[in-house]
């Protein structure tokens, strides 16, 4: 049995997806200019990562392993994730238009978000059970949202700051990310 608390704390703080594993960097720099859009993106990612973990685990365990085609996991996972995101988008658009307005524009971006693919691959590599995988996916999404929210708060402040001309926009964002990552290093070595 997996230690669920250890998985959760590990995915949120110790091995934070953005600041430690460098997964999902494109939205991290692309959608972190405003706190409100960062929150929308964060919720969409939490949802998709949790579901992607729940879907890819049975496919790998009950389909790829019995037929001994584990080498097909890259192709299978990416197709499953892309189809799933597309499906979610259609369902939300039809039945929950208010939710679609809040999350809709972020959903297509998530297909090529390496964090989603990364969590599916990591679950398989770490050999988690189904519940472990779902917890891992959910907490990895929380970790991503946490980093994104912190970053957007910093960038809203940076708008008003007097930054040297060469460092304007992205370079100063990268420096802030470095300092955030440095702060998150304090969690490393934490064991539950």
């Amino acid at each position: 049995m997996d230690n669920l608390l250890a998985i959760a704390v590990g995915a949120i703080f110790v091995n934070n997806f953005v600041l430690f594993r460098f997964l999902g960097l494109c939205p991290f720099f692309g959608v972190s200019k405003k706190t409100s859009s960062a929150l929308g993106m964060g919720f969409a990612v939490i949802f998709v990562m949790t579901c992607a973990s729940a879907i890819t685990w049975p496919i790998y365990t009950y389909l790829l392993i019995p037929f001994e085609i584990e080498f097909m996991r890259t192709v299978t996972f990416i197709l499953v994730i892309a189809t799933f995101v597309q499906l979610i988008e259609m369902v939300i658009r039809k039945y929950r238009s208010s939710l679609y307005k809040a999350l809709g524009i972020y959903l297509p971006l998530i297909t090529t978000n390496c964090a989603v693919m990364g969590v599916a691959l990591l679950n398989v590599e770490e050999g988690y059970s189904l519940i472990g995988s779902v917890v891992d996916g959910f907490s990895a999404g929380i970790g991503f949202t946490l980093a994104l929210l912190l970053m957007s708060g910093i960038r809203e402040r940076l708008e008003l700051a007097d930054v040297p001309k060469s460092f304007e926009n992205l370079p100063i964002a990268f420096i802030s990310a470095a300092l955030l990552a440095l702060a998150f290093m304090a969690f490393s070595g934490m064991r539950l």
């Binding site: 890259t74 192709v75 304007e168 370079p171």
Partner: protein
């Protein structure tokens, strides 16, 4: 002019510093020059292969389902690289870890398929793939050399010592995630600085 398709990826439209694509593998595997070279060769192969195949198939792929088609082509090439590396360079495969299968979601590759290979001829797409792949290699090797020299005080590429030990007390932080963010920030600021100065002189 055909040669333009090759050279534009190197500096003018460098996928890393100009287009800001493919950040995840860039920062994750740039701890050593070895890893960076291995990663960029893998990306180069997938990029050239998928560009050529997608360009060949561009008349038969219906526009509504083009993205899934591109993804299948790219994922097949990634699987080839993954298995090849596992067979012939198991050490490198071990060190790159999940970042090899993650080439499939590298935005450079899907980006070039969508923006270029699905519209242009095979020869142009081949040159574009080679140019963008080498542009990615230049960027990642630049970052990896800074990080390796600062974090170990030396540089060894595939067992050969290129730079001998410079210091007994290297800056370990450059090996860790913050070092990756610092390095790319400084390089981008330097690029901005030279662009601003050049513009001012004119």
């Amino acid at each position: 002019m055909k040669l333009d398709e090759l050279t534009k990826g190197l500096f003018k439209y460098n996928p890393i510093f100009y287009l800001l694509l493919g950040l995840c593998p860039l920062l994750a595997v740039s701890t050593r020059v070895d890893n960076a070279l291995g990663m960029s060769l893998a990306v180069l192969f997938v990029l050239v292969g998928s560009n050529v195949i997608i360009s060949l198939l561009r008349q038969w792929i219906p526009p509504e389902v083009r993205i899934p088609c591109f993804i299948v082509v790219i994922a097949s090439f990634v699987t080839i690289v993954d298995l090849f590396m596992y067979g012939y360079a198991p050490d490198l495969h071990e060190r790159l870890g999940i970042y090899v299968p993650l080439i499939v979601v590298n935005c450079i590759i899907l980006g070039r398929a969508e923006a270029f290979a699905s519209k242009k001829s095979v020869s142009h797409s081949l040159l574009d793939g080679i140019g963008m792949g080498i542009g990615f290699m230049l960027g990642i090797v630049a970052i990896a050399s800074v990080r390796e020299v600062l974090s170990t005080g030396a540089m060894t590429i595939f067992g050969y010592t290129v730079i001998p030990g410079l210091t007994q007390t290297p800056a370990m932080v450059m090996l860790l995630p913050p070092g990756a963010f610092f390095t790319i920030a400084i390089i981008m600021a330097l690029i901005n600085y030279t662009t601003i100065r050049r513009a001012r002189r004119r």
